[in-house]
Symmetry: D2
Subunit: 262 residues, 4 copies
């Protein structure tokens, strides 16, 4: 059986510049996540980082990626707008995508949501408890109704996202907040999953439950169908090819064979 | 009772350059729509067009607009990106917005949806029948379960939009297509309504049912609450102000009082 | 301006049998809620209780009710199935309905949801903090982004409801749980709002924020259009009345003018 | 790889009493559908009919069914309420279910939806064209953007269902109507798919595209996780077992260890 091809993209900034983060993730968070996915079964994960040529995603790479995972924080603004457009195109054509933690403010996530994606936050190493709200959702397969991360950054509501297709997880925070921590969307032919945990100063991506959610998310977001060739095309259907026979009538704007406006 | 303040924005291109369109809408489609709204009761509608200073929406105008109506077609690409950003900010802060017909490809609609917003189309003056799918929806108040436009441009599925919050209308076309013609969304604090009919070579905006849908849409999209001051803000909640007493612990990335990354 | 006609239905059991509850709500929770609504402006609220004739809702009462509010707990099983059917019919025809707290297990709520509507619970007088998740939602008008009830019963996820149309509020509980406390639905032509707080041993319905949510909910659920005459009808459209001219062809099951199966 | 276990339930009335139907489906529609599923790969389908003992679904049968397919029309009222309750319990516990055509008025579908599920209809052998509205949805895998059934019964909007989780297909009818022909829901832990085509006097279930949709629907509705043991349970979490240490305070209704009201 062919494996699901995952590219884990990380900005890889704090892993190099912050000693705490480096000690937790000596090969980077992206590598930690990819290692866990490769151990999960049925997934072939590789990595890409911001300071590589083409910011790690040269032409052709997205076409060979079934599911893209994105983690960014300090360098959101450095991501090329042209790359953001290519990512959105790939999603609309059928690529799955998972945004992790601070990627709520990444360019591709904001572009796919159409909303501010803002929230409240606090970095105090407090306890987070993640509750399942959609029983038997494939993203929660094998997980209990709740599990904990002893130390995490807090993200609080109101979370500036569109009403989700499904709310899968909601987090409880020790300091008094709640947050919709696992939400799904569809954008064009592609599936989108946002998953909250993963502040870089804590060992969250070493946690077995977190790894399981991400692997489940990959399987959920994967679509085996061939990528759409032209996900944004707006084809004209000429009157002579109409599915039901009709007569053209009335005034027209467009000459025959002319393209529409974009 | 205070009236709802509506700004009807039109690109006003074909009304000036195409004789057919000029004859149907001698004062422009925007003016036809505004006139109908002003006659509907409880609404104070004004207009704005592309070739005015600041493309018709100078600083302050959106702040005094409760609901923005947008019609564009030939000149989508001419709309300033900075204006698009101001419009999205206003919607996220609570302004209602209605996109009409070819505005499915306008910059602000695509930006708010996060999808290609594409479709199939045919300009043949065929019959369109609009069916109600959500009974008693306020946008359909006073309308029958179906009504017709004898001549319209065809728009066909698949329509590249996110799964709507509500599907209010679906259109039947003589040539064999269907289309989700009335769909609602919420983006930030603002309500969004897309309504399909309105090709410029037909007298659609003179139709009583169409005028009623647009007036209903204005009332539905209107929010009497004050605009949010900072709809994209992501405030830090310091540990000493946490709603529940907690102790800061573990490693930190951010110095005290530092802003988050955007 | 005509007032919205609200009927507040309460089972009125513990108010009579439990001394604690009687002291907090000497006239019953239903009366406390109705008094608050009558003071809110634009609403004319009356009450109905289980031990009245026809369980408080005789023929004609629902027809004169714009929005029904339902509180039940100990006597869910005593509510007549025929009354439940009349309530659902009224909702499908356009009546708004608000279910409060333990009404999650009431017959009409379960019937309208099609799910178990179950949850976890704990009666320990713990703190509940209610967070807004849908900014500027009319049900949250005038409310802060969060507010507290110092003592409440805990309800926890997973909450066995369908994916809501909108999630308006999520609760945080001191003991570690979260709960989708304010959720909306549409059923037929009628709007449905479930709101969690209101355990009978605490003074929740005396709280100003809670009273405001319920009054907002009434205004949101109210539909000024006339009730649908036959919300469950499945009319046949004979071929001779088809909107487009078609010829009948092929084999048939039904004789001309015959009703469909139900 | 283990096959998905499907039970195709048919009321099997018109196949026995109507000569036209018998000729098209000599072994019954249920058998035609089961045969197609068994040929599709990865699916092991068996059948059950109304006039068997326990109406074809004796104790234990649903427990061994991964996905139930339901076709009924003339005999909706004969289905035992106790069986309907067992079906809903199985869905809430994780069983997938697909309702076909006239099953929109079946007891289990109405019970799971909480709405009238009504529509308009016409039996005239007209052309139906089914349009895809959610590109790359797994239920549409391998299908074109539209396909036709030359003769079908018409079902028209407004369709009295809750706002779907996803609208996958919309039908165009020759006589002028539209209909949301493929819609998905989740109810408890179980997935629900309604698919419109299949009037018994036409050879719809012999159509390759229709067979493909149903096989796709089975794969989509299947959940490999173990069925929930008690999908309607509402467990008490005693204060001494609270996830966060809290002190019980305030008045109580329930004695220690007491069950909640249902």
């Amino acid at each position: 059986m062919t494996k699901i091809r995952v590219t884990v993209w990380g900005e890889n900034v704090h892993e190099r510049t912050n000693e705490t983060v480096r000690q937790i993730y000596p090969s980077g968070m992206h590598q930690c996540i990819a290692d866990a996915l490769n151990a999960a079964g049925g997934i072939a994960a590789t990595t890409a980082v911001l300071d590589q040529p083409d910011q790690g995603l040269p032409p052709g790479r997205l076409e060979e990626t079934d599911v893209l995972i994105w983690w960014g924080h300090a360098a959101h603004g450095d991501v090329d707008d042209a790359l953001v457009a290519r990512i959105c195109d790939a999603v609309w054509a059928g690529m799955g995508v998972i945004f992790l933690h601070s990627a709520h403010f990444s360019k591709p996530f904001k572009h796919l949501m159409g909303t501010p994606c803002n929230l409240t936050w606090r970095e105090a190493g407090e306890r987070e408890r993640i509750w399942l709200t959609s029983r038997h959702h494939p993203i929660a397969a094998g997980l209990p109704d709740h599990f904990e991360l002893e130390q995490e950054e807090m993200y609080g509501e109101p979370f500036g996202i569109p009403e989700p297709l499904e709310t899968v997880f909601i987090s409880w925070f020790q300091g008094g907040e709640v947050f919709r921590s696992g939400v799904t969307y569809k954008r064009g032919a592609g599936k989108v999953f946002y998953f909250r945990p993963g502040h870089e100063t804590y060992p969250t991506y070493h946690d077995a439950n977190i790894q399981r959610v991400i692997a489940n998310g990959v399987r959920w977001a994967f679509n085996p169908e061939a990528r759409l060739a032209a996900p944004s095309a707006a084809p004209n259907t000429p009157v002579e090819n109409a599915l039901e026979a009709i007569q053209e009538r009335g005034p027209k704007l467009h000459a025959k064979g002319e393209s529409g406006y974009k």
